[in-house]
Symmetry: C3
Subunit: 138 residues, 3 copies
């Protein structure tokens, strides 16, 4: 994969995680396609569509605010491969959630594998389908 493209994807993910961790849930949802899917082995069913993705994220942030917990999503060990079409990419990376409560010690909330189907939209990318697998759930 070209260094230029690899860079683009690294920057896209850094931006996406910063939006999520700032509870900018609508902007976060817009980094997915309108019919984007967020599937997690920790969830009963996949979350489908931007509206549902934004709502699910907002609900999580409300719960975290109640306990004064701040979370940061770290992605790493990213590999990028050609996707189903010329405008798509498949990515695979690790994701950690670092959780810190006000006045508390940081802890690793979970360690996961994140696999995305990305679609180019104009000069950026959007997640068409994301699969997040928590390492503790097997």
């Amino acid at each position: 994969m070209s260094g230029e493209l690899y860079q683009e994807i690294q920057q896209y993910y850094a931006w996406q995680m910063q939006l999520l961790d700032q509870a900018r849930t609508d902007e976060w949802a817009e980094t997915f396609t309108e019919d984007g899917v967020f599937a997690a082995n920790a969830a009963p069913a996949p979350v489908k569509g931007r509206a549902a993705i934004a709502a699910a994220s907002a609900a999580t942030h409300r719960q975290l605010a109640e306990v004064h917990e701040l979370r940061r999503h770290w992605l790493g060990m990213l590999t990028v491969s050609p996707g189903a079409t010329a405008d798509e990419l498949s990515t695979r990376c690790y994701a950690l959630i670092i959780a810190t409560r006000k006045g508390g010690e940081p802890r690793i909330h979970c360690s996961t594998l994140c696999e995305d189907q990305l679609v180019r939209v104009g000069d950026t990318w959007q997640v068409k389908y994301r699969t997040v697998s928590r390492d503790d759930i097997r």
Copy 2:
């Protein structure tokens, strides 16, 4: 942001953190401008200027040496934006400090948000103003 510039900044930070963690405190201070500022929500006041930044870092390393603690600074989820001038950049990233004592278990000492104002100096960059916000202090 171009992939080439994004790369440059990634390499600059990797180098800067390696200098810090090796207690090369004078070289570390030289990665800041002569009047560079290091402001942290965990500190009573901002540390101003290379001499003070080097001294503060040296003092910390002396304390860590006494308890045989080795710390590694990890930066991630980096975003880079245009700065106030053509020679400046604004960056935002997460920073973790992983602390390990001789014979001990590694622990996350703190999880933070790091926001920099960078200035181009020749073929490299220097920190003009750094703001580090610990997640546990709010």
Copy 3:
């Protein structure tokens, strides 16, 4: 170091760590030169050659499988320098191992420094000599 080359090395390491963590031990060993060496301060002696590197990794994965532990290797703060020849590079980075047991909490198994001598082989790279130093062992 050029951004393009820095990218290449980042992608090489992400791929290499994913192979290791998927227990694809033969493919993992092929990311080393035929006579590649893996030296660690936690091991009694350096592991020499692909066959021994694959065998050592397979043995570790068998032990982890018995206790249902999944490990992920994270590399970060990578610096890349010219090597002994035009086809070689020296790299220095941090490496964390995040370990999660089935139904358990993630923990940092160890924090290390990883120093490699890389050799260009065709359009990719191979490790000629790796030195991994655990932070707790001094």
